[in-house]
Amino acid sequence: MTELPRLAETGGCRNTPILKQRGQHQVFCGLTGIIWLHRKMQDAFFLVVGSRTCAHLLQSAAGVMIFAEPRFGTAILEETDLAGLADAQEELDRVVAELLSRRPDIRQLFLVGSCPSEVIKIDLQRAAERLSETHAPHVRILNFSGSGIETTFTQGEDACLASMVPVLPQTEARELLLVGALPDVVEEQAVSLLEQMGIGPIRVLPAPRADSDLAVGKNTVFVLTQPFLGDTHAALERRGARHLPAPFPFGEEGTTAWLRVIAEEFGVDAETFDRVTAAPRARARKAVSQASEALRGKSVFFFPDSQLEIPLARFLTRECGMEAIEVGAPFIHKGVVGPDLDLLAEGPTLAEGQDVDLQLDRCRAARPDLTVCGLGLANPLEAEGLATKWAIELVFTPVHFYEQAGDLAGLFSRPVRRADLLKVEAAE
């Protein structure tokens, strides 16, 4: 049972030439990450310094799912701020003071940069440092960019986590750090599997609260749970921590490979590894094989969105029997997704960046059985008879590790099954 994942038979995609086009992008900006980050960090507030557009984006991306007192808001820039009549730093002091007095439960405040704040060069770093002095020790104030000119969708989480790294306390302890905001249930599963192998202590970035015992140092080894954390990866390396490159823990195979990289680092013997993983592996295999029935032999086309595309293409092609036609990702960071690329068989077009109109032309010509795309494209493609899966659900739903492997396959198979189920057209 300790077989290594088969490498792709035709050789992986690591060296496949990448199609790069520059045109209209159809993606969210990094502000969107706030929607899930604010749920994960329960004493944090995210204050976007931006425009009405930014506020409207947050509201539209969140839908009305989280109307219950959100822990995010927008300081909307007004004419007076632009005309230089109001001093931006003073204005920020005022808004932050107002906010913190209304929400005394807040222990971490993130000032989030947007396109307008960056174009007019509001120095949020300076603001964060000054405000930290005012509100310390009760509240820690950090800043990051979620702007559309600097970040794409999930890069917002990356920027947020990266902003936390420099202020983490120093430690000499040999610790394992899991990096990425996961739903609690999923995070607990991962920690439990690793602990059963005798690995520890295990820390998680982001911690649910500011006053955690999270620290970092040259004896820290870290592993990413999300493929979009390139800057956080670099920030941790700057603190001396060492990265364990691994395929991402999607599906049975991905989870096993991810765990194995960690197990090897911590000298876990094969027997222990098998004892801990055998049962959940078997469950995951069974669940995936059931949930992926509708997917076997079907083709899939990815529009660039969350940077999860490459690991997911690996999962869908290797574990669900699909054929990938095009795998588009906003960025391809080989230091991070390299191990997944090695496992992804050659064949699909790999695309980085986007010209949405040209990509739509390719998609229409290929007529894939399933298209993974953003919310703006899904219904128009459905209307053209193409089954779609909205990519945003993949970052909102628990999909990592063994127990969710079947659910992950299910997310993709549901639209395909639905297309077969519905008999709503007039008889020909």
Binding site: R94, G376, A378, A383
Partner: protein, 524 residues
């Protein structure tokens, strides 16, 4: 800087997108960063449109800023023209592009495209979505509409409907039918359903029906001045307004007024005995000015409610709403601050809210039923069934929509009678709504302390309408307990009345007696 949690309106370029998306044969080239493409999903997801909005975003990035965003814009514009071959193009900037001052309008003009290019100036840091729609439609009309010979038959334009509009799709059908019953046909519906060439011949109609002042009033005024087209002022939402509309249109068209009310059910439904329980229900209204104005009249004159407060989020309608509020003897609330609306509702504790999706959530939190009467829209506001707000069927739809969230007549009495029953208690919620009834939580002695003291903080404008009162009143435990026995849908009213009663008399502690004295005082 203004701290904002939720917004009632998007930025002005979203208003422009609503105009463009409603139309055909028009393309919008928008100088904007990539994240702004989120706006597409408003149309494809919320409205379930089966096409992408006809919008090309330039999606410039930070690295383009130092270099050449202008070139990027021109490229995008040329490619959009080549690919979509529109009859006309509108160009503009989002909030970020406004700051980099590339002047999309000027650039597009120099490109010499073979179709009209219409520049939009939408100040993102001052104005909002409705302004954006109104201004965009106005600019399109001003550029394209030409004086034209009147149609031989009497015709009207229906102006104002846009993409993502609250029930616009069905209102068009309803108003078309109202006109057709009077022998008036429709020359054009715009912006929704029109192409630039349809806009060009708007002047052929005999008059305009201004369906939504929010999105087409500026164009209506311009057409009145430049094309000699008078426009209607009454928005036919509700029975009375529909009758007034018919009279106004007959006058504009020079025909005899005629309204086929054979399918109108609201008046009888409202008179029938089952509706007695609606009498004097205290309602609070909030939304866009046009819908609130119409709803206030319906609430009072056609449903028999008591309007305890009203307001709108679009300042453009502030003057109208102030006038309406004056007529109702209530303080107008003109704000786009969601928290302020929530505070006002909490203070007024109405028995029902007629509001937007935002107030629906306020209602959920406060346990007050809410029916939606206005944008901002949500996927639920695009029902599959025919569901207009205007005209005869609109009135029927409104009756049903407003009554639905309430506990129905007899059920209300049964709840009062059996309020001690452990299953049939009031917190179980209306029986016709889904969801599991929650078991009643028994009061234990020494349970949560009564919520006191409560301070009265009336909004300043209300000062002369509501007796001023800054006294804190304390509920004695027995009175607090007695209050809980009152069914939940009147409890807010009882609490408020009792406190006002006590405050007016300088009573600082409310006992069971105070509660019943107040009840007797307010009996009607």
């Amino acid at each position: 800087m203004k701290l904002t949690v939720w917004t009632y309106e998007g930025p002005p370029h979203v208003g422009a997108m609503r105009v463009a998306t409603g139309m055909t044969g028009l393309h919008y080239v928008l100088h904007a960063p990539q994240g702004d493409t989120y706006a597409d999903l408003l149309f494809t997801m919320i409205e379930r449109r089966d096409h992408r909005p006809p919008v090309t975003f330039t999606t410039f990035q930070a690295r383009d800023l130092g270099a050449d965003t202008a070139h990027l814009f021109k490229d995008a514009c040329q490619r959009a023209y080549d690919r979509f071959q529109p009859e006309a193009i509108i160009v503009g900037a989002s909030c970020t592009a406004e700051l980099i001052q590339d002047d999309p309008g000027g650039m597009a003009e120099t490109m010499g495209l073979p179709v009209p290019t219409i520049p939009l100036e939408l100040p993102s840091y001052q104005r909002k979505e409705n302004f954006g729609a109104d201004e965009t439609f106005f600019q399109i009309v001003r550029t394209l509409a030409r004086p034209a010979e009147r149609t031989a038959q009497i015709t009207a334009n229906l102006i104002g409907p846009t993409g993502l509009g609250f029930r616009h799709r069905d209102d068009i059908a309803e108003v078309t039918a109202l006109l057709s019953d009077m022998g008036i046909s429709v020359n054009a519906v715009a912006p929704m359903t029109s192409s630039p060439s349809d806009i060009a011949r708007l002047g052929a109609a005999h008059f305009n029906v201004l369906m939504y002042p929010e999105t087409a009033e500026t164009a209506a005024r311009w057409m009145e001045r430049e094309l000699g087209l008078p426009y209607s002022k009454v928005v036919p939402i509700g029975v009375g307004a529909t009758r007034d509309f018919v009279a106004e249109v007959a006058d504009l068209a020079g025909v005899a007024p005629y309204l086929d009310d054979s399918r109108l059910r609201l008046p009888w439904y409202s008179k029938s005995v089952d509706s007695t329980y609606l009498t004097g229900k205290r309602v609070f209204l909030f939304g866009d000015g046009t819908h609130v104005k119409a709803a206030a009249r319906i609430a009072r004159d056609e449903m028999g409610f008591e309007v305890v407060g009203l307001g709108c989020y679009n300042r453009e309608m502030a003057r109208d709403i102030r006038a309406v509020a004056k007529g109702f003897g209530v303080a107008p609330l003109i704000t786009d601050d969601y928290l302020e609306v929530e505070r006002t509702i909490e203070e007024l504790s109405p028995e029902m809210i007629l509001g937007t999706q935002m107030e629906r959530h306020i209602g959920k939190r406060l346990g007050i039923p809410c029916a939606v009467i206005s944008a901002p829209v949500h996927v639920q506001d695009f029902p599959a069934r025919y569901s207009p707000q205007m005209g005869i069927e609109g009135a029927n739809v409104i009756f049903d929509t407003w009554v639905h969230p309430l506990v129905m007549g007899l059920e209300e009495h049964l709840l009062t009678m059996f309020r001690e029953d452990f299953e049939f208690h009031d917190a179980a919620g209306p029986s016709h709504h889904g969801g599991k009834a929650a078991p009643r939580v028994e009061d234990v002695d020494g349970g949560p302390a009564p919520q006191t003291p409560r301070e009265y903080l009336e909004p300043e404008e209300a000062a002369d309408l509501v007796p001023a009162s800054t006294v804190s009143v304390i509920w004695l435990p027995a009175a607090e307990k007695e209050l809980k026995k009152i069914p939940f849908f009147v409890r807010g009213k009882a609490r408020r009345n009792t406190e006002t009663f006590a405050a007016e008399r300088g009573v600082s502690e409310i006992s069971v007696d105070t509660l019943y004295e107040a009840k007797a005082h307010y009996a009607r």
